[in-house]
Symmetry: C2
Subunit: 328 residues, 2 copies
């Protein structure tokens, strides 16, 4: 829906103070057909509004979606640098795209881009990430660590630990990390992480960490094909979560881990990561660009690289793959 029409429509409902607005009146004020009015109402519903429709009376809003604001995230935020500058948007193509532009133009470390909706959210290898309005945490964090590009994968693992810790703190739900960049609850995907960077050949200029967290979706918010493999915190917990509070907690956990990482290196992060890792010791199938490997996941190296042992005891080092965890 064009943002302008949505604003007009919401303004009319606000002025009606919970009362009904007739389709006729909406159609006149927006200057569109009755069919178009019906379409706009449906789009409001998709955006998380609940509306009652009664014949001859019209429509009224019965529930406003749980929105967040830049202020809500800032108020009570306990970090030093992360999230101290927030770019908040109602709807974007992808928060990564905006973050890339801001980073290129010199945005400071800790700059956070948050959107209520992504119309073209992306995960690893340019895969689509479903990011409907008012339901999830769709955000990108800009970091400027003084590191060579080869270290960037470690930040994916660090991010996974930060989000796992924050989810546990806010919801008490137990999460599993699936190497390299997914967080699962009850074996269903709840969080995706996309670590990207802008770098010179030998020096990182900026790391842009995209986080997609399914928070308040109900099952019907997910496309049919995801029902068996994806979930949200609200589905698992049985009640909605305050998204601003979750964002604050992620930023705080992240900052603590990040300071530790910059000071002491990857080893402490590795230990924490292993405590959440679901695949270690299990039979897995790893699909890489060059082929498919099967074996037992032995753990990760000091650099965050996955070690896979085959039947003959030969170890492969895997930098990048999709992992499928065996049944046993």
């Amino acid at each position: 829906m064009a943002t302008e029409i949505r604003s007009k429509l919401l303004k009319m409902f606000t002025e009606a103070q919970g009362g009904f607005l007739s389709g006729q009146k909406i159609s006149e004020e927006l200057g569109c057909s009755r069919t178009a009015v019906w379409k706009h109402i449906e789009e409001l519903r998709n955006a998380g509004y609940e509306l009652e429709a009664i014949r001859r009376k019209g429509y009224r809003i019965t529930k406003i979606p749980n929105r967040i604001s830049s202020n809500e995230i800032s108020l009570g935020l306990k970090t030093e640098a992360l999230g101290r500058r927030i770019h908040f948007e109602e709807s974007v193509t992808s928060t990564q795209k905006i973050a890339h532009q801001l980073a290129y133009d010199g945005a400071l470390e800790g700059t956070l881009i948050v959107a209520e909706e992504q119309t073209a959210g992306r995960g690893r290898l340019n895969r689509a990430w479903h990011s409907p309005m008012y339901t999830g945490v769709w955000m990108s964090l800009i970091l400027r660590p003084n590191l060579p590009p080869a270290k960037a994968p470690q930040l994916t693992l660090l991010t996974a630990v930060a989000i796992a810790q924050a989810i546990e703190e806010v919801t008490s739900l137990r999460t599993d990390i699936k190497w390299p960049n997914d967080i699962l609850i009850n074996k269903k995907k709840t969080v995706g992480i996309l670590t990207e960077m802008q770098a010179e050949a030998d020096k990182i200029n900026s790391v842009i960490i995209g986080m997609g967290i399914n928070v308040n979706q109900e099952l019907e918010h997910f496309p049919e094909e995801l029902h068996s493999i994806a979930t949200s915190l609200a589905i698992e917990l049985g009640k909605p979560i305050n998204r601003a509070e979750l964002i604050q907690m992620i930023l705080l956990k992240f900052e603590n881990l990040y300071h530790s990482y910059l000071e002491h290196g990857f080893y402490p992060i590795k230990l924490l990561w292993e405590s959440y890792a679901i695949s270690i010791g299990k039979k897995i199938i790893a699909r890489t660009i060059t082929g498919t490997l099967e074996g037992t996941a032995k753990g990760i190296t000091e650099d965050g690289v996955l070690m896979l042992e085959d039947d003959k005891g030969h170890i492969s080092y895997i930098h990048s793959a999709d992992i499928e965890i065996g049944k046993d």
Copy 2:
């Protein structure tokens, strides 16, 4: 100068067909003061135009700068993919910035961004690169190799070889490569290379190779402080060079080396690179982010990393530094 005023002024001179235009007439047609007219004429001179000024007659253009066009680069280009799509601009902040945006939006491998002038050209570590109008080759090439980020420095060395080969082919001038990203002629800097990338943690999305080549500058085009350390091909050769032809040759040499690299790895590039390397076997000082090292440059590793041997025979591996070559 505002592009609009420049166009108006050039149009007036074109209509005068080599004849004089009085300052009065220019001032009237542009709607500006006589002082402003004088300023605009000076700016044309800085942009490579030569103008004669005669009291009571006014100004006339005696020489139009040697410009290039997208067509000139395309006509006779012998490559398969590199330079097959050209974004040509009269003036940009930096070709790297435009290339970053195009790359993020999906520009194909081989897309080339060329500008006649950069107002904010950059080199390694965000240093300024002086890129005056109509004099040099200021361009950025987008590549999409299927490589891990750690391999990106090898592309800097490959680029240096391609440019050195092309300069030799077009001018017969002998060039020296100074690790990692400079090309010198008679010990003066003639070419700078900036390799940047957009990458996921474990996979390059795009490599953006910026090339700045001093081609047709006269000594007075360089800022005073660069006179003793920079030069141009025209200064060294004693006559101007056809820039479009040079660009074509660079793209052709680049494509050959790039295919060889993707097929056979870095080793063949390493051998070629060493044949141009000025620092190997010499005493050097290497200034890195963490400190300064002195010793003898022993060569580069299979990965393109510089090996420095100190007095005691200890070898340091240097991924990134500014190199100063000793006198002996």
